[in-house]
Amino acid sequence: MRICCPLCGARDRREYSYRGAALPLPDLAADVEVWHAHVHLRQNPAGPLEELWQHEMGCGAWLKVTRNTATHEILAVTLAEEACA
C-alpha cells in the first residue's frame, strides 16, 4: 500500500499511521452524547471513506485520505490542516 503525501510524494504505508474516520469535530464543550458519538460510533462504510492518516515516519503531516475500504483504492489525499481549516 502506498499513499501520496502532498509534501513528500508517494511513500510506503509503513511510514504512515492510521487514526480512523475523519469526522467533523464537536465543540470542546459539547455534551457527552455528542462526544460519545464522535469518539465511539462509526458509519463504517464498505466503500469510500474519508479518514485521517499521519505521515508519522516522514514529515509528520496529518492527511485527510479518501480511500475505498472495500478495494483499498485511494481516491484523494489532502493536508488535514488545509481540509480542516
Binding site: 502506498r2 470542546l28 464543550a29 455534551d31 485521517l52 508519522e56 496529518w62 483499498h72 488535514a80 481549516a85
Partner: protein, 981 residues
C-alpha cells in the same frame, strides 16, 4: 536415462551429488530432479496420508511430490522441491516422511487402512474415551503428519530484504515476458524482469521449436543479450514474484545461493541464502505461463507417471528421458508433442492414448483414439498401464506415462487482490479477469494464449498497454516468426471406474473423497476443499484444483463456473519465514537506544535494563554487594541522605513555541498552563479523547511563547503524534510550532539534601532559593556550556534536573558523578528511582495503565473546572465518576506476612477469594529502606474510603496471602517539605 548430445546441458561439467546416501553424477545445469531421472532414480518420497510412493510429477515450482531434505546440522532444510533445486558439487539430499527408508516405509501400512481414512474421517471418530484424543490419537496423528523435519537448531544463515522500484515489472521470462521486457526496455522504461527459474526463457527452453528461424533457445539468448546490455533493465533470475499487493506493490523471493555449495556462498562470498524483495512497480506484465494438469484415473499416482510437458522439459532442456518405453495419455494436441520429441530423440513411444475420437494422427507412433488409461501397476515405479477403449481393456508395459489434461493459465497473482477468474469453455480453463490487479496486464499462456506466436505478440502488446497507463508511449517490438499451432482440447478430468484416482497427490485426496464430500453436502467448493484438504498441500492445488472442481461440479450437477473457485492467496510459492523476517534476528528485532552516559555508567558497575527501546542503568553494583537489593537500598539511602545522579534523558522532551503555545497546552493538559509564570515549571496531566489518562509530566515555561514539555519515556511518541493531531487537525489556525528534542538534550536528575551544593559547584550562576525556588527553571552555564536547570523532584528530595546539549552529556555526567562522590553521593539507577517514587506515591505507567482516570488516580483536582480540555467531556461520564471504581491507595503490611507483591489481588479480610469478591490489585511494590518495610501502590474499589482499613492481599502465583493496611499513597514526607526546602 541421459540421451547423449541432447539438451541444453549437454557437454557441461559433471557434478557429484548424493541422494539417500548413494552417490551419483549429474551435469552442471541439472536440477536435482533431472539428475536423479538421468540416474534412473524415480522414487523420491512418500505421500502425506497413505505414505504412497511418490516420484517426480513436474519440472517446476508446482511440484507436489518430489520434496526432499537438504543439508545437515543446523543447515538442514526440509521440503525443497527437487524440480527447482539446482545441482551443486557435494549436494546431499534425503527423502522425507518415510521410515526407515523411502523404499521400505513402515507407515505405508496406512494405505491398507485407506477405506477408513476417507474424507473427513477424523471428525467422526477419536472421541472415545474422552481424554484419549490428546493422550493418544492426536500425538500419533501429529507424528505421522508433517513432511520434512527441522533440525531444532536456530537458523544462523544470513537472509536479506530489499526494496526495488521500476516502471514495469515483468513476471516470467517465456516468450510473452521477453517480448514485454524488450518492448518496454527499448522505450526507455525502467524494467525488472523476474523469473523463478535459474535460467530465463520459460517453455522456450523446454520445447523443440524455432523462433525467428533459429532454435528457440538461441533466440532467447539473443534477447537476453540485448536486455543485459541496457542500463534500464534489471534481470532477476531465481526470483519468484510471490504476491501482488495494493498500489503496485509486489513481493518476490530470490533464491540467492541455494544453487551454491554452502562453502562457496554463505561464508566466502557473503551472499545471503535468500533475499525477500518488495518491488514498487508503476505497472506490471504477468507472463507467468501455464501449469499442466493431471488426469485422475485409478492408481495415477505411481512414480513414472508424469506431466507430459515435464517429460519434454527433461528431454529437451536436460537431455534426459524419464523412461525407456514411454506412453502418453492426453486430451489435447499438445500432448502429442511429447511423443514426437521422444521419438525424435530415439526413445521408444509405446502408444499415445487420446480420449478424443478426433485426435490427430500419430507421426511414427500409434495413437489410440477415444481411449483412456484406467489403471496402472508397479509398486515403486510404473510397470504397466491398462487402457480402456471400445475394444475393451488392454494392458501395456511402460515405465513412464506422460499425461496431459490440458493447461491452466498461471493466474494466481491476479487473484491476490480478491478478483475471481473467468471460465473459458474453449480452453476448459480459468483465465484472469482483465482488471483483476490495477496496473497489471496479463499476456501469453497466463492469459490463455497458448501458441508461441500468440505469446510473443501478446507480450509486446501488453507492455505497450501497461506503459500507456503510466503515460509512456512504446512501440511493440515486432514479433519474430514462430509457431501458431492451435490448442485443441476436449475436457477429461477423471476416468470413471473403481479404485482410487488421485486429484491431490501430496495430500492423498482422490475423486472418491470429493464425491463423498458432495454426498455429505459439502457442496460449496470451500467446504469441499476444507473437508477433504484438497489443494491445501505445499503446491496449494496448482495441479489439482481445477480437476477437483470439475469432479465436484459433476457430483453436484452444476457447471464449473457455477461451482466457483477457491481463492489463490499469497505467496505464489512458499517463502521462508527467515527471508521475510530477515534482519530481525537476535538484537536486530528492534532499535537499541543508548544514553550519552552509557559508557560512564558501565564503568561505574551499572547493570543495564531495557526500558522500551532504551537501555538504562538498573543499579550500580559496588564491590561487596552481592545482589541488586543491596545496591538499590544503598542508592536510595544515598539520595535521601546526600545526593544521587540519574540520567533521565529518555523522558520525551518537546520544545513548543509560538503565540498560541499556551493555548495549546491548555487544550492538551487537563490543568492550566497559560497562567504559569515564566521561569516556572508545572506538573500536568493529559487525557485521551475518551477521558482516560494518556500521560503525565512536567512542562516548563522558558519565555512568554516558549515551553518545554516532558513526557514519560513510554508515551513520548504518542504524545508527539497527539500534539501534531491537535495542531494540524483540531486547531490548524493556531500559531504554534513544536519539535521533539528528546535526543538533543542530555538531562540528569540531581537529587538529595546536597543537590544544591553540587549544582552550585558546576554552574556559573548562583543557585539559591530565590533564583531557583521549588518548581523554578532557567538558563544556566555549565562550565561554559549553555544549559538549562529545572528544580523538580521525582524522589521527594530537594532536586534538580540539569540539561545540556547531548554532545556534552557524557562529560557532564562524569563531572556530576565525581562531585557527587565527593559529597558522599553517586549514581543511582532505575531500581532506586522506582523505590524513591513509590515512597512518594508518584505514579508511572504501572498506574497510568490506560484504564485509569484522573479521578481514579486521586488527581481530579488537576482537571480544571474553569476550562475545557481534550478528553474532559468523556472523562466525566457517570460510569467514570463512581465512588466504587478502582482508585489509587497505598498499602503497608500489618500481619505476620510482611510481603506485598505486584500483580496480587485484594479482598476484604473475611471473604472468600474469587473473582466476585475481588476488590483491587497491586500496581507497584518495593522494599523501602527508608521505612524499613515493604510498601505498595494499589488500585482498590472505593480505595480512598478504605484508608485505615485492613485488606487481604493474595498472590497465588507467589504463594503470598497477607494482610495490609490501606494507607494514603504518599509514604514519605507527605507535607513535601524536603523537596520544597
Amino acid at each position: 536415462m541421459r540421451i547423449s548430445g541432447k539438451g541444453l546441458v549437454s557437454g557441461n561439467r559433471t557434478v557429484n551429488f548424493a541422494f539417500n546416501g548413494r552417490h551419483y553424477m549429474g551435469l552442471e545445469g541439472d536440477t536435482l530432479a533431472s539428475a536423479l531421472l538421468a540416474n534412473g532414480v524415480h522414487l523420491l518420497g512418500r505421500s502425506f496420508k497413505y505414505h504412497r510412493p511418490r516420484g517426480i510429477l513436474t519440472a517446476g515450482s508446482e511440484e507436489p511430490n518430489a520434496l526432499v531434505t537438504i543439508g545437515k546440522g543446523a543447515a538442514l532444510e526440509p521440503n525443497i522441491r527437487a524440480t527447482q533445486q539446482e545441482l551443486f558439487e557435494g549436494l546431499a539430499a534425503q527423502s522425507q516422511n518415510c521410515w526407515p527408508s523411502v523404499e521400505r516405509d513402515l507407515m505405508a501400512v496406512n494405505d491398507l487402512a485407506a477405506p477408513f481414512f476417507g474424507a473427513g474421517f477424523y471428525y467422526k471418530t477419536f472421541m472415545w474415551p474422552r481424554g484419549f484424543w490428546e493422550a493418544l490419537y492426536e500425538p500419533l496423528i501429529r507424528r505421522a503428519a508433517g513432511l520434512g523435519a527441522l533440525s531444532g537448531a536456530a537458523n544462523k544463515d544470513p537472509y536479506e530484504k530489499a526494496y526495488a522500484f521500476c516502471d514495469l515489472l515483468v513476471i516470467g521470462s517465456g516468450p510473452a515476458g521477453l517480448m514485454a521486457a524488450l518492448t518496454a526496455a527499448r522505450a526507455g522504461a525502467d524494467v525488472i524482469l523476474a523469473e523463478e527459474d535459474s535460467r530465463m526463457g520459460g517453455r522456450l527452453l523446454a520445447e523443440v521449436e524455432e523462433v525467428d528461424g533459429k532454435p528457440a533457445h538461441l533466440w532467447v539468448a539473443e534477447v537476453l543479450a540485448e536486455l543485459e546490455s541496457l542500463d534500464n533493465v534489471r534481470l532477476m533470475p531465481r526470483t519468484a514474484v510471490t504476491g501482488a499487493y495494493d498500489h503496485g506493490t509486489y513481493s518476490a523471493l530470490e533464491r540467492v545461493s541455494h544453487h551454491l555449495p554452502p562453502s562457496q556462498s554463505l561464508k566466502t562470498a557473503h551472499r545471503p541464502r535468500e533475499c525477500f524483495w518488495r518491488i514498487h512497480a508503476g505497472a506490471s506484465v504477468l507472463a507467468s505461463g501455464a501449469i499442466e494438469r493431471p488426469i485422475a484415473f485409478r492408481n495415477n499416482d505411481r512414480p513414472g507417471i508424469m506431466m507430459a510437458g515435464a517429460v519434454r522439459s527433461y528431454l529437451n532442456r536436460w537431455g534426459v528421458s524419464p523412461g525407456e518405453r514411454v506412453t502418453v495419455f492426453g486430451n489435447n494436441d499438445d500432448a502429442h508433442r511429447t511423443a514426437r520429441d521422444l521419438l525424435a530423440a530415439g526413445v521408444h513411444v509405446a502408444a499415445v492414448i487420446d480420449s478424443r475420437h478426433d485426435a490427430p494422427d500419430g507421426e511414427g507412433f500409434p495413437v489410440l483414439r477415444g481411449a483412456v488409461v484406467c489403471d496402472s501397476t508397479g509398486r515403486q515405479r510404473l510397470e504397466s498401464i491398462t487402457i480402456r477403449s471400445v475394444n475393451g481393456e488392454e494392458k501395456i508395459q511402460t515405465d513412464c506415462l506422460a499425461m496431459s489434461g490440458g493447461w491452466n493459465p498461471s493466474l494466481h497473482l491476479t487473484c491476490h487482490l480478491g478478483a475471481r477468474p473467468l471460465w473459458r469453455r474453449d480452453l476448459a480453463a480459468f483465465v484472469p479477469r482483465a482488471d483483476a490487479v490495477p496496473g497489471m496486464v496479463v499476456a501469453g499462456a497466463a492469459n490463455g494464449s497458448f501458441s508461441t506466436h500468440g505469446a510473443l505478440t501478446e507480450g509486446a502488446a501488453a507492455a505497450v498497454t501497461a506503459l500507456a497507463g503510466l503515460g509512456t508511449s512504446a512501440t511493440a517490438a515486432p514479433p519474430p516468426m514462430a509457431s501458431d499451432a492451435p490448442y485443441r482440447i476436449s475436457p477429461l478430468w477423471a476416468v470413471p471406474g473403481k479404485g482410487r484416482a488421485w486429484l491431490d497427490f501430496q495430500n492423498d485426496v482422490t475423486v472418491k473423497d470429493v464425491t463423498q464430500a458432495a454426498q455429505e453436502n459439502f457442496r460449496s467448493v470451500e467446504h469441499m476443499k476444507r473437508y477433504t484438504t484438497l489443494g491445501m498441500a505445499t503446491d496449494q492445488g496448482k495441479s489439482s484444483n481445477v480437476a477437483a472442481l470439475a469432479v465436484l461440479a459433476d457430483a453436484t450437477g452444476r457447471s464449473i463456473p457455477e461451482t466457483g473457485t477457491t481463492t489463490f492467496r499469497p505467496p505464489f510459492v512458499p517463502t521462508s519465514i527467515a527471508a521475510m523476517g530477515a534482519g530481525a534476528e537476535d538484537q536486530g528485532f528492534a532499535p537499541q537506544r543508548y544514553l550519552t552516559s552509557h559508557q560512564v555508567s558501565q564503568d561505574h558497575g551499572a547493570q543495564d535494563i531495557e526500558v522500551g527501546l532504551w537501555y538504562r542503568a538498573s543499579y550500580f553494583a559496588r564491590p561487596g554487594e552481592t545482589n541488586w537489593r543491596q545496591s538499590c537500598d544503598r542508592e536510595v539511602m544515598m539520595v535521601r541522605s546526600a545526593v544521587g545522579v540519574c540520567d533521565v534523558s529518555t523522558l520525551g522532551k518537546i520544545d513548543i513555541q509560538g503565540k498560541d503555545a499556551a493555548r495549546l497546552l491548555d487544550l492538551v493538559y487537563s490543568n492550566t498552563f497559560s497562567t504559569l509564570k515564566v521561569g516556572r515549571v508545572r506538573y500536568g496531566l493529559m487525557l485521551r479523547e475518551d477521558g482516560f489518562v494518556m500521560d503525565d509530566g512536567t512542562c516548563a515555561r522558558l519565555d512568554e511563547t516558549h515551553y518545554v514539555m516532558t513526557t514519560t519515556t513510554a508515551a513520548a511518541a504518542q504524545v508527539m503524534a497527539h500534539l501534531e493531531y491537535l495542531t494540524q487537525v483540531v486547531r490548524p489556525e493556531w500559531d504554534v510550532r513544536f519539535a521533539s528534542v528528546t535526543d538533543h538534550w542530555a538531562q540528569f536528575s540531581v537529587a538529595g539534601p546536597r543537590a544544591r551544593d553540587l549544582i552550585n559547584d558546576l554552574v556559573e550562576e548562583d543557585v539559591n532559593a530565590e533564583s531557583f525556588p521549588f518548581m523554578g527553571c532557567g538558563a544556566v552555564t555549565v562550565k561554559g556550556v549553555a544549559g538549562r536547570l529545572f528544580r523538580i523532584s521525582f524522589s521527594g528530595e530537594h532536586a534538580y534536573e540539569i540539561a545540556v546539549p547531548a554532545r556534552y552529556g557524557a562529560a557532564l555526567y562524569r563531572l556530576l558523578l565525581e562531585r557527587a562522590e565527593a559529597l558522599g553521593g553517586g549514581p543511582y539507577g532505575m531500581e532506586a528511582l522506582n523505590v524513591l517514587r513509590i515512597e512518594k506515591g508518584f505514579i508511572t505507567h504501572a498506574e497510568i495503565n490506560g484504564t485509569t482516570t484522573a479521578f481514579d488516580l486521586g488527581m481530579q483536582a488537576l482537571v480544571s473546572p474553569k476550562k475545557s480540555c481534550w478528553g474532559k467531556v468523556l472523562s466525566e461520564r457517570e460510569g467514570l465518576m463512581e465512588e466504587d471504581r478502582m482508585r489509587l491507595v497505598g498499602l503497608k503490611p500489618i500481619g505476620a506476612v510482611k510481603e506485598i507483591s505486584a500483580g496480587a489481588h485484594l479482598f476484604e479480610p473475611d471473604t472468600t477469594v474469587e473473582r466476585e469478591t475481588d476488590i483491587g490489585y497491586v500496581t507497584s511494590v518495593c522494599f523501602s529502606p527508608t521505612l524499613g518495610h515493604m510498601i505498595g501502590l494499589a488500585m482498590v474499589s472505593a480505595g480512598p474510603e478504605r484508608i485505615g482499613e485492613t485488606i487481604r492481599l493474595v498472590d497465588h502465583t507467589r504463594g503470598i496471602d497477607a494482610l495490609c493496611e490501606v494507607v494514603e499513597p504518599v509514604f514519605y514526607d507527605p507535607e513535601g517539605g524536603r523537596a520544597r526546602g
